[in-house]
Symmetry: C2
Subunit: 407 residues, 2 copies
């Protein structure tokens, strides 16, 4: 497996064969320097898989894509930012279908061969004339160069401060295959209401069931291990499209395994990027929980710690206030024996056997202050369950971003 | 039922007969103007009931009080702020027992006749010499006047900006009874780690089982319907003590019912006060959820809305961004049909039948901005479940309070 992760300053990962992208500013967003319509197109029909929000209140494009994946014969994805097309009833569903038709027509495909992603404000109808203009303009710009790739990733952004890209290559039965992924923000960000969106494309040949399984497992290890503010979006979607342009037979055995490792890497990198670019964040929190009965229990403890405003503000303030972490674990709903718990913060043992451990608070504080990543390791027993979870700290900037703007 | 709720500027509710209080600054807190040891004493043996945090990681005083209530023969409560005596192992439990002994000795009772409350930083051992000094000094000041009452309530405070008191009277079998309650903060507030503590005392005669049932039900309707930051403390405790000084037989029938109504009022008032005094809060959010299958489901939806940082920042910013509210309900884990949901914000209908309703955003925004309380009403069907829940908004001041301080 070869990998190239990116930006803002790293190399742009290459697109797999047969894929082209473009994005334009159509006018859904007010700021004319921000792209808001993105097209992702395959020259060949592609297998597609998807994983979606579990929010009961889900957006129209989620309803549409969920009904279409996993499947074969897809030609691409149309994405808009600035409007989530959520809580928009049957008119919203008509609009999502219409977006697919317009995008299909623009690249010479049927509407049913397209998938749709939207992110932005909830509860407003899409400005369809603007969307149509954007699709037409983007279709004319489709290309496989680095500039197009970067612009496409920018076109998904809402309050993200930078595009999130990752890539990798692998060999399957002597055939050289490429995986490319892009994603946007993990915070559900208000008026300009964001979401977690991801698109992964490859030139490998993959059966739909294998694609779906690989994506579900990769997402479980990556995007499902990130929380910026605990607010689950109506629009969260990750799509995987495989167009077989690399040639060869559908992946199986070692080739499929190599693909899955590459996909895990791409999704893992994008997920960490989302936490790192959390709204207003000054720290990434890496939370490693172990010793639980199973993985789900470890995730539940990690997520409770990740979402505690008191833990998040303590990290922001470089305060080794470990009582907040232990008490968050205690109300997570997972049963464990506090007298067997051990907590380390950036490697320093702070709590063991139900009692505090003497430590150099100034040194631990400095270790938080001086690094972008804060490592929280909590072991709660000797069970086999463990997880790595990413989150971001809570800052006054997060509040400002989400309060000082008007719909 | 007569009631008198308080301060900062209202009247101080009177103490029931046979109760005295006092608080002093002993030196657990650094700030010498802040009381940190409080004594609550009854001249007669009292029935006691308690409700406690469900956090697995619970503090030593919680372990002690839980083992002693419900029961009879209690003479009072000793309270310290500035140190939670949590995550302190067996030494912490010894310290809590010793606090009870010292307080009992100071008022002429046995250690087993006392209950203990602590709030403050987690993971540090109590400065027992300081605590002992405080208990001795407070015992010398015990009185039933307004100044002692107010000082006692102040002695429980951590980052609370004001003491929280409520009272009421009722008639049982011709006997005039009084209920008095005091509580402190609903945020678990870090280094000066706070907690929800409440003490309710009455001169009525109540059997322990009736006291426990009445307190559990009152707490469920009040303190369990408040969340400031969703972080459950290790120390949350509400105690009810009834010393029968009013005379008469143990409450039953209509008398017990009158007591319960008074207790509900006292707890409800204290609970709303906690949300109103949430750290950094500029708004109280009153969240009314209805139409669920049962009350637990309504509470789960309300709590999810109450704890969403995006809902909390929108209220702070006076932004009628209702998509955040509906999407929070959607990820609460409670099953409902979004197409049957209806949302009102400060009385204005914003969302119905799965689609947005046109509304005057400027008018709704002004209604949020211009009032301390923001009313969120969400109906999700025609089930009998309903709840009223209080929370506070999320502000940059909350972040500053919790990040810009060092343990």
């Amino acid at each position: 497996m070869t990998t190239s992760d990116s930006p803002p300053d790293g190399p742009i990962p290459p697109l797999p064969r047969g894929w082209r992208m473009a994005a334009v500013h159509a006018g859904i967003k007010r700021n004319a320097t921000r792209e808001d319509v993105t097209l992702v197109a395959s020259d060949l029909p592609a297998t597609a898989a998807g994983v979606y929000t579990s929010n009961l209140v889900f957006a129209a494009p989620v309803a549409l894509d969920r009904s279409r994946t996993p499947g074969v014969g897809f030609r691409g994805v149309v994405i808009n930012s600035g409007n989530a097309n959520a809580c928009t009833g049957s008119r919203g569903l008509d609009d999502a279908r219409r977006m697919a038709e317009l995008a299909g027509r623009a690249i010479g495909a049927a509407g049913e061969q397209m998938l749709v992603l939207s992110t932005g404000i909830i509860g407003e109808f899409l400005p369809m004339a603007t969307v149509e203009r954007g699709i037409t303009a983007a279709a004319a710009l489709l290309a496989a160069d680095e500039r197009s790739t970067l612009t496409a990733a920018r076109g998904m952004m809402t309050t993200d401060t930078r595009p999130k890209l990752a890539g990798g290559g692998f060999l399957a039965d002597g055939v050289d295959c490429t995986v490319f992924g892009m994603a946007k923000g993990a915070a559900m960000i208000g008026p300009r209401l964001a979401t977690m969106l991801g698109v992964v494309v490859t030139d490998a040949a993959i059966d739909p069931a294998d694609a779906q399984r690989a994506l579900a497992e990769a997402a479980d290890e990556s995007f499902n291990c990130v929380s910026v503010d605990g607010h689950m979006s109506t629009n969260d979607t990750v799509l995987l499209l495989a167009n077989a342009a690399a040639g060869g037979r559908p992946l199986a055995g070692a080739g499929l395994e190599a693909f899955r490792r590459t996909l895990d890497h791409v999704c893992g990198h994008l997920a960490r990027e989302m936490a790192d670019d959390g709204e207003g964040a000054t720290h990434v929190m890496r939370i490693e929980v172990s010793g639980t009965f199973d993985r789900a229990a470890a995730r539940q403890i990690a997520r409770t710690i990740a979402d505690s405003p008191l833990v998040k503000t303590a990290v922001h303030g470089a305060d080794p206030n470990w009582g907040r972490i232990v008490s968050a674990a205690g109300y997570s709903g997972v049963a464990f024996d506090p007298s067997r718990a051990e907590l380390r913060l950036n490697g320093t043992l702070l709590f063991r056997a139900g009692s505090p451990v003497a430590f150099d608070a100034e040194q631990v504080s400095a270790s938080i202050r001086d690094a972008r990543e804060t490592l929280i390791e909590l072991s709660v027993g000797d069970g086999p369950g463990r997880i790595r979870f990413y989150s971001s700290d809570l800052t006054a900037d997060y509040v400002r971003l989400n309060a000082d703007y008007h719909t």
